[in-house]
C-alpha cells in the first residue's frame, strides 16, 4: 500500500525531471565548468583555472579580449536601442487601441502581431531587399546612394527596424490585456475632474499596470542580451565588426571554422549570463522599490 503511494508521482514527475537533468541542469553545470578549462569540444577539457577569464577581461593583447570587449559593447548598444522601443511602442499601441472611438481594433492588432510569427531568417531576406541600394525602397524612393547594411549608422538602423517590426506584438498583447483590466470608473472620474488624456495615462494607466511593465521590461532586456539572428542575417556583424554581438563571437569560437575554442567561448557565455542575471535583478529591484 505504502509503496504504491510512493511510486505514482515518479511516473508523473520523473520523466520530466530526467529531461531537466540532462538538457538543463547538466549543460548548465558543464558550461560553468568548461569556462575554467581549455577545451576543443572533442577531447577532454583541461583545467586551467581562471586563465580564460583573465585573458578575456585583462589581456589587452589577446584577440579574445578585443572580441569580448567589442561583442559586449555592441550587445549593449543593441539592448540600449531596442529595449526602450520595444516597451514604448507597444505601450503606445495598446493605449491607442484602447481608445473608445477607434474601430477595427482586432484587425489592427493582428497586423501588428503577425511579424512576430515570422522567423528571423525569412524576415531578414525580405527586409534586406527592401534596404537594398539598387532594388529597394532606400535607393528608389528616398534616393539614398549608400548601401545600408555595410555603413553606419544605417547598419544599426536596419537591425533595430527588423527587431521592432518583429518584436512589438508580444508586449502589445500583454499591455492591452492589463489596460483593459483597469477599472473604467477611474478614467471617468478623472475625466470629470478635467484631466487630459496624457494626465490620465500618467496617473492612472501607468501605475495600474506596474507589474506587467516590470515583467516585460525585465524579459525584453534579458531577451535582447541574447541577440544573434538579426545582426547575423542583416549585416553579418559588419561594417568592420561594428554590429558583431557577443552571441556571434561565442558561436564563432565554439562552432566556427577551424579548431573549436569552446573553453574560451564558455567563459564568455558565463560572463554574458552573469551580466543578464545582475541586470535583471537590478531592474526588478529598482522598479519595484520606486513603484512601492
Amino acid at each position: 500500500m505504502k509503496k504504491k503511494l510512493n511510486l505514482a508521482p515518479v511516473f508523473f514527475v520523473g520523466p520530466h525531471v530526467i529531461l531537466f537533468a540532462v538538457f538543463v541542469l547538466l549543460p548548465t553545470i558543464y558550461g560553468i565548468y568548461a569556462s575554467f578549462t581549455k577545451w576543443n569540444l572533442m577531447n577532454e577539457p583541461v583545467w586551467v583555472g581562471l586563465d580564460n577569464y583573465k585573458t578575456i577581461l585583462f589581456n589587452t593583447e589577446s584577440t579574445f579580449h578585443t572580441q569580448f570587449q567589442n561583442g559586449l559593447k555592441n550587445t549593449f548598444i543593441f539592448v540600449g536601442l531596442s529595449v526602450p522601443l520595444l516597451i514604448v511602442i507597444p505601450l503606445m499601441i495598446a493605449v491607442a487601441l484602447e481608445h473608445k472611438k477607434v474601430k477595427m481594433k482586432n484587425v489592427i492588432q493582428s497586423i501588428l502581431y503577425i511579424p512576430g510569427l515570422i522567423s528571423i531568417s525569412a524576415a531578414a531576406l525580405i527586409w534586406l531587399l527592401i534596404f537594398n541600394k539598387q532594388l529597394g525602397i532606400t535607393g528608389n524612393i528616398f534616393g539614398s546612394q549608400i548601401a545600408w547594411p555595410t555603413n553606419q549608422p544605417y547598419a544599426w538602423l536596419i537591425i533595430i527596424v527588423i527587431t521592432v517590426w518583429g518584436g512589438v506584438g508580444g508586449n502589445m498583447i500583454i499591455y492591452r490585456a492589463s489596460i483593459s483590466g483597469v477599472a473604467k470608473e477611474l478614467y471617468e472620474s478623472a475625466e470629470l475632474d478635467g484631466a487630459g488624456s496624457i494626465r490620465r495615462f500618467a496617473s492612472i494607466t501607468l501605475p495600474s499596470i506596474r507589474f506587467p511593465l516590470i515583467y516585460t521590461f525585465v524579459m525584453t532586456t534579458a531577451g535582447a542580451f541574447n541577440v544573434f539572428g538579426q545582426p547575423l542575417m542583416m549585416t553579418d556583424g559588419g561594417p568592420r565588426q561594428s554590429t558583431h554581438v557577443l552571441m556571434m563571437y561565442i558561436r564563432q569560437l565554439a562552432f566556427g571554422n577551424g579548431e573549436s575554442i569552446a573553453g574560451m567561448a564558455s567563459a564568455m557565455a558565463v560572463l554574458l549570463g552573469l551580466i543578464i542575471l545582475v541586470i535583471s535583478a537590478l531592474q526588478y529591484y529598482v522598479m519595484n522599490r520606486n513603484a512601492a
Binding site: A8, P27, A96, S119, S121, L125, E191, M219
Partner: protein, 300 residues
C-alpha cells in the same frame, strides 16, 4: 468657504466635460494616424515579399522598387520546388514540419503529465522540487548552449530531428502555466473519482486533461511557432543540408543566391517558410492574442 465650493463645482464640471470631449476627438485622430501608419509599415514587407516572388528577375532588376508586379509569373516557385540539391526548400519545409509537429505533440504530453504531478498529487518535497527546478531554469540559457551541443553529439543526434525535438521538452515555463491552471480546478473533482476507485492515470486522462484544454492549446501553439522559428540552435546543430529545418536553410540561401541574382526565388522561399505559422494564426487567432502568453514572451 463651503458656499464657494458649491458654486464652483458645476462650472468646473462642465468645462471639464467639454475639455474631455474635444480632447477625445483629437486623440482619436492621433490614435488613428499612429495605428494606421504603423500598419502600413508593418504590411509593406510582407506584400513586397509576396509580390516580388511573382516577378521575373529581369523585371526586378530593370524596373526597381514596385509594390506589385508588372507581370505575374510562377516560374520562381516552379524553380524552388524543383531544386532538390543546393537548396531543397521542400525538404527543409518537411523537416521543419516534422520537427515542429512532433515537438508540439510531446510538449503537450509532458507538460500535462508533469503539471498533474505537481498540482494534483501529494508527495514529500513536491513544491520544493518544483520551485528548485523553476529557479534553476531562470539561469540564462546562453551558459548551457555549448555543452548542450556536446550532449546532443554524445546521443548521436547531431544532424537529426531529435536535436530540435527533445531538448525543448525540459523547459519549466509551460509546466508552470499548466500547474497554475490546474491549481484553479476544484479538488473535489479528483477526490470523488478517487473514492470511486479511479487511478491517478485515469483521473489525469478522463477528468483533468479535458478541463485544461484551453491552456494546452495555447502552449501547443507557442511551442509550434517557437520550434518552427528557432534560429540559433539549428544553425549550430545542423551541417547536413538535407536534414536542416527551413530557418537554418534560409541562412544558406543568402550565400547560394548570392548578391541577389535570383531574387524572385529568394523571396518565394522566404514566403513559403512563413506560410505555416500564418495559417496557424488565421485559424487560432484568439488563442494567440490572449494574455496567457505572459510567459512565452521574447525569444532572441
Amino acid at each position: 468657504m463651503s458656499n464657494q465650493v458649491q458654486l464652483d463645482q458645476p462650472l468646473q464640471n462642465r468645462t471639464g466635460k467639454r475639455k474631455g470631449a474635444s480632447d477625445r476627438s483629437i486623440s482619436k485622430y492621433i490614435s488613428y494616424l499612429f495605428l494606421l501608419s504603423l500598419c502600413v509599415v508593418w504590411v509593406i514587407p510582407v506584400i513586397f515579399g509576396i509580390s516580388t516572388s511573382f516577378r521575373s528577375q529581369t523585371e526586378v532588376v530593370s524596373s526597381g522598387f514596385r509594390l506589385f508586379p508588372e507581370q505575374w509569373i510562377f516560374e520562381n516557385y516552379v524553380a524552388i520546388l524543383n531544386n532538390t540539391s543546393t537548396a531543397p526548400i521542400l525538404r527543409w519545409l518537411m523537416n521543419s514540419l516534422f520537427i515542429a509537429t512532433t515537438h508540439t505533440f510531446l510538449v503537450v504530453i509532458v507538460i500535462s503529465i508533469t503539471g498533474y504531478g505537481y498540482s494534483r498529487m501529494n508527495f514529500k518535497g513536491r513544491d520544493t522540487l518544483f520551485f528548485t527546478l523553476l529557479g534553476i531554469s531562470f539561469f540564462p540559457g546562453v551558459v548551457n548552449l555549448i555543452p548542450s551541443y556536446k550532449i546532443i553529439d554524445a546521443l548521436g543526434w547531431v544532424n537529426t530531428s531529435w536535436a530540435m525535438i527533445i531538448p525543448g521538452l525540459a523547459g519549466m515555463g509551460n509546466i508552470f502555466l499548466v500547474r497554475q491552471f490546474m491549481n484553479g480546478l476544484p479538488k473535489e473533482l479528483d477526490e470523488s473519482a478517487r473514492v470511486d476507485g479511479a487511478s491517478d492515470f485515469r483521473i489525469y486522462l478522463s477528468i483533468i486533461v479535458p478541463l485544461i484544454k484551453p491552456i494546452l492549446i495555447v502552449c501547443a501553439l507557442f511551442s509550434f511557432t517557437g520550434s518552427w522559428n528557432d534560429f540559433l540552435w539549428p544553425v549550430i546543430v545542423y551541417t547536413d543540408v538535407d536534414k536542416m529545418p527551413v530557418t537554418a536553410g534560409l541562412l544558406l540561401l543568402q550565400d547560394i543566391y548570392g548578391n541577389y541574382r535570383m531574387i524572385g526565388q529568394l523571396m518565394g522561399s522566404a514566403i513559403l517558410a512563413i506560410i505555416p505559422t500564418m495559417l496557424l494564426f488565421l485559424f487560432a487567432q484568439k488563442y494567440f492574442v490572449q494574455s496567457i502568453n505572459l510567459n512565452s514572451g521574447i525569444k532572441g
